[in-house]
Subunit: 638 residues, 2 copies
């Protein structure tokens, strides 16, 4: 890891005791993880059948029947195991660990002697292994199981799953590469997984194969087109001529535009940044920066959502960010968190952590109902019942979170990201500790520094750190990009602070017990979109701290597009009286509601009536029954 | 026709000499009709192949080869013949008439001995005749040829085509009906055509079969579902369970919502109103009014466009009128003109003629390039190059008119509507002459009244009528709904006028040479949409007289959504200096353009810069190369 500027602190070195996130983590541990296990076992009536565990039983020869589900159904099991691993770090749970060990043993029994591991092909089409990489997700499933194996090993020290996935990875590495069989993954994932496997094993071939998969993509003659010529069967009906969808339009180092399926893209960029941080490859680093900027500066919703179109669940044109047609898949927000983490390791700049934070409090969290029982795949910024989820163009934009999905990628992505939050919160290198997020709890770094944190973030801007052991190091505390007024005190003294790349750098020989108090101004903020974003013309969005707000029908009545928020109206903060959204701070302002006659068109301008506007945190939307919602509120100049 | 309150004046009794429309009619006669003939003959290189005439030759046994084109390809020939018929009334043309006579003779030779006439089935699937009414358009093609036959007879007095279509109609009437074979047309058209055939022949069975087709629709067990059960083949893959698409969700008299394919709907409503006007059926009349109001008061763009979604080229939810995803097919605007004409015959109210006028000057005319050589199928209200016509959701919204379409329904619909304009302009009954439109020229009514009209409409509100023969009658001049200030003088004297249902009623014993001067205030107008139309929130549209305006990039620069038109800014009228749009009056105002930094999101509100806004008539848009366009202009309150 010699080229990385800083690395995430190992999860086992982090404890989380946070007024906000501990609750979410407990929800994931108490509700989501057990619920997902039940779903994987088909024990929840009335939801989409999973069959994922049963597929492993059939592959292991321990059950009769047919494979059922998506060709990538195995990945649901892998992502569950990965989330379990992180949860065991947060909170030991012997029963859950036993359950996981049993699933791992089953996965092992489903593995073929040569290391091959994919129940779809083992059970259903053994003659078609490795042939249709574009469509069949074998490398994707392998990647997720590798991530699970790495996480489970790191969490428990147990090697059973790590051994399984290494055997599978060894098979993959022996098969694919320069002077071996040519191959490019249809859905990127194996690349970042092999890099994680390299990190824990130090085995160079894992890094080399990841690099091969990345660098072979988009190289002429394009692999998927070649593969298609060879095949006399298909699984989906993907067209290799669509070179945007799976980012095959150019070799990755030459890619400058974020295009195509946004989760594929995000996973690929994550691997690119990971590899660049590892190797110091300048060309790869430059490509990562270019792609990051294109996503963040041209293609990201204010909530952190990415992917503007359902067609290909994909990125769209620059500045084309429709709020109602939106895709903004929960998984794509997770992918942006992964990408941001790796960019931070490449170069610790606050702009990356800003986006990580934006995703965590908005685009990712909105994917889960507040009770942990229902999930969004698509996270819209404007919802209108009767249109959203109903009319053909808007059918993917559901106004209420469903219980589960046939393609169940998003809920487990929330679970594994939330449970592994510690690794996004803290970073370290030889002489520095980075506080990327303001996560309450404690960190004991490999470099010897130990710091505890008390935080009421995101609702309150006061964060207090206590240095636990005497040591000479730099404490780098992120100053969020959204924060214009802040203050740092060390042991009660306000001190001048050097800020570089978004981090306040406190160099000193710290004494045990030293207290660093950070105070971030939490005034509600108005956000305006670039005029190139036609969907947001005339509108303003509200945020407070890292939390983006939205207006809902339940608080403001129907026809939210008839509301007007005056540019200069004072915005007040008050705790919600509504327990259904957890009494979170709401924003209120005196504004207007427009009225017109019943006529469809009229020469009479709309008439303004005074109205009180109430906005709630975006991530809490859709928890109070169906109704209109919008993030961008029409503004008036009064 | 005893129940009709007034009827369109026979085209042969109307001459057109109009500063605006004569030019459009000449364009259709000089360019469109010859061009369409060339296309029907496949003589235009580089455009979609038609093969329509060749299909008739093959069916007649005079040429070898395969049928080519849509199953309704014959209708292109029919619509061309209908337009030719109207053009011959406007301007005799022996050569064109000879060409048409030859095509008619060919159509006759392609007709089967029993009267059957549909080249697709004659040539390609003779075993499948009349079996798949839902998908196969036999009755639709028959309807269009009947319309052509009626028009050609009325124009030329020649019966060749009328005889052909009567033989075909007789076959249809002998086959379908109560106590005969059950059938419902998949694409409504035959109904209105049979009613027209009834009008010229007085043959009751044509009316009865039209009534049967109308009243059988939506009756349980639903016909298309029954038909589908019977069939072991399909042509398209239409699902009879979609009972909106072809308006089968209820018997027509019980329908209250405009749904489904908007051209099908419009043709059906036209026939319903025609039948109701003929029979005086109160229930049918009520249904027509309800459907009219739903279209006009909930589902119509300010340009007259109808059909908000490409999916099914269909009506959408009430008030769901997206400007960029829009369908607003040119044919649907034509259908609304037909519907309006029949509603006027049912009850002469200005609100119907208002819509007829709105369609003529906006939604219909925008379908044709100003040089008559290119055509829109879809008429958007917001166009953004790089998005419109390019991104998947917007692929149907072309920013530039194409030369022709594989499904070539729209261009001939423009041609036949424009050439028959006289029948929309004037109406009569025993004692009244109606001036629905302000069309320059002359009318000699069946009731004996003769009136000439001089008009500079739509650019000027002064219209002058001269009564040509002494007669006691009521002259009913429409006062447009958009006009708030107007004045009528008779022989130079301002007179008090009774206005009823949108018509100024001038009863008197007219002297030959009496002059009626109408003066309509042509101040530019601001139009606001109902707040339920979220797509138009915060925006204003401009109109002058019947003409709706739009802003284009060529006049205003790119990023039209960054323009702001102050609510109180004076709007000036000036002739365009741009010959490419015919030096039409433009509207200009002092407004603003917003600027933001390069950032995607910022806390800095956009900065206003003074900007001059220029709007041009909507129907002229897209005649000056590709660029942005929008009808709804963001408003500010300054």
């Amino acid at each position: 890891m010699e080229n990385r500027k800083q690395v995430a602190v190992d999860l086992k070195r982090v404890t989380v005791q946070d007024g906000f996130w501990s609750g979410v983590q407990n929800l994931v541990m108490d509700v989501v993880i057990p619920y997902q296990k039940q779903i994987l076992e088909d024990a929840v009536p009335g939801v989409e059948k999973s069959h994922a565990i049963e597929n492993f039983r059939i592959a292991a020869g321990e059950s009769q029947g047919e494979f059922y589900g998506m060709v990538f159904q195995d990945s649901d099991v892998a992502k569950w195991l990965e989330a379990v691993a992180y949860s065991l770090v947060l909170r030991p749970n012997a029963e859950l660990e036993k359950e996981a060990d049993e699933v791992i043993a089953l996965v092992g029994r489903a593995q073929e002697p040569d290391g091959y591991l994919d129940t779809y092909f083992t059970v259903k089409e053994p003659e078609h292994k490795w042939q249709n990489l574009q469509e069949c997700h074998e490398l994707y499933c392998a990647g997720h199981m590798i991530e699970a194996g790495v996480a489970y090993y790191q969490a428990t020290g147990k090697t059973a799953l790590l051994d399984i996935v290494r055997k599978n990875a060894d098979l993959i590495c022996s098969r694919f590469g320069k002077d071996k069989t040519r191959g490019v993954p249809g859905h990127q994932e194996i690349e970042l997984a092999l890099l994680r496997l390299y990190d824990v094993t130090g085995e160079k071939k894992y890094l080399e194969t990841a690099q091969y998969f990345l660098e072979e993509r988009g190289v002429e003659p394009e692999y998927f087109a070649e593969e298609k010529k060879r095949l006399d069967w298909k699984h989906f009906d993907m067209d290799p001529a669509d070179r945007d969808y799976a980012q095959t339009y150019a070799p990755v180092k030459q890619q400058t535009k974020a295009v195509g399926h946004s989760v594929r893209a995000g996973y690929m960029y994550t691997a690119m940044a990971h590899l660049a941080a590892e190797t110091g490859d300048e060309e790869m680093t430059a490509a990562c920066r270019t792609l990051w900027n294109n996503v963040v500066q041209q293609k990201m919703y204010v909530t952190g959502g990415v992917g503007s179109t359902v067609h290909g669940e994909a990125f769209s044109a620059d500045y084309e960010l429709p709020n109602d047609l939106v895709y903004a898949e929960t998984c794509a927000s997770a992918a942006m968190i992964f990408f941001a983490r790796r960019m931070l390791e490449l170069e610790p700049k606050g702009e990356y952590a800003d986006i990580m934070e934006k995703e965590l409090y908005n685009g990712l969290l909105s994917g889960m109902q507040l009770d942990g029982k229902r999930f969004f795949y698509v996270n819209p910024l404007e919802v209108v019942p009767g249109v959203s989820g109903k009319l053909r163009e808007y059918r993917h934009v559901l106004p209420v979170r469903p219980q589960w999905y046939a393609c169940a990628c998003c809920p487990p992505n929330v679970a594994r990201t939330v449970t592994s939050l510690g690794q996004y919160a803290w970073g370290e290198n030889e002489d520095t500790v980075y506080a990327h997020l303001f996560l309450g709890g404690k960190v004991s770094c490999q470099n010897g520094a130990a710091i505890s944190c008390r935080s009421e973030y995101p609702w309150n801007g006061r964060v207090s750190y206590t240095v636990e052991t005497a040591k000479d190091f730099t404490f780098a505390i992120r100053i969020p990009g959204w924060c214009k007024k802040w203050e740092i005190k060390v042991d009660g003294q306000e001190i001048p602070v050097e800020v570089r790349d978004g981090y306040a750098l406190l160099h000193r020989a710290w004494k045990a017990g030293s207290v660093v108090e950070l105070s971030l101004d939490m005034q509600p903020r108005r956000i305006y979109a670039n005029t190139k974003v036609r969907a947001d013309a005339g509108c303003v969005a509200l945020a407070r701290g890292p939390v983006v707000y939205c207006v809902e029908q339940v608080d403001n009545g129907a026809e939210l597009s008839a509301l007007r928020l005056p540019r200069t109206a004072e915005i007040s903060v008050a705790a919600s009286k509504d327990e259904r959204i957890g009494n979170v701070p709401t924003l209120t302002a005196k504004g207007f509601r427009l009225h017109t006659s019943d006529a469809l068109y009229s020469e009479e301008p709309p008439v303004e009536e005074a109205a009180s506007l109430t906005a709630v945190p975006y991530f809490t939307w859709g928890n109070r029954g169906p109704g209109e919602m919008r993030v961008w509120i029409p503004e008036c100049e009064k």
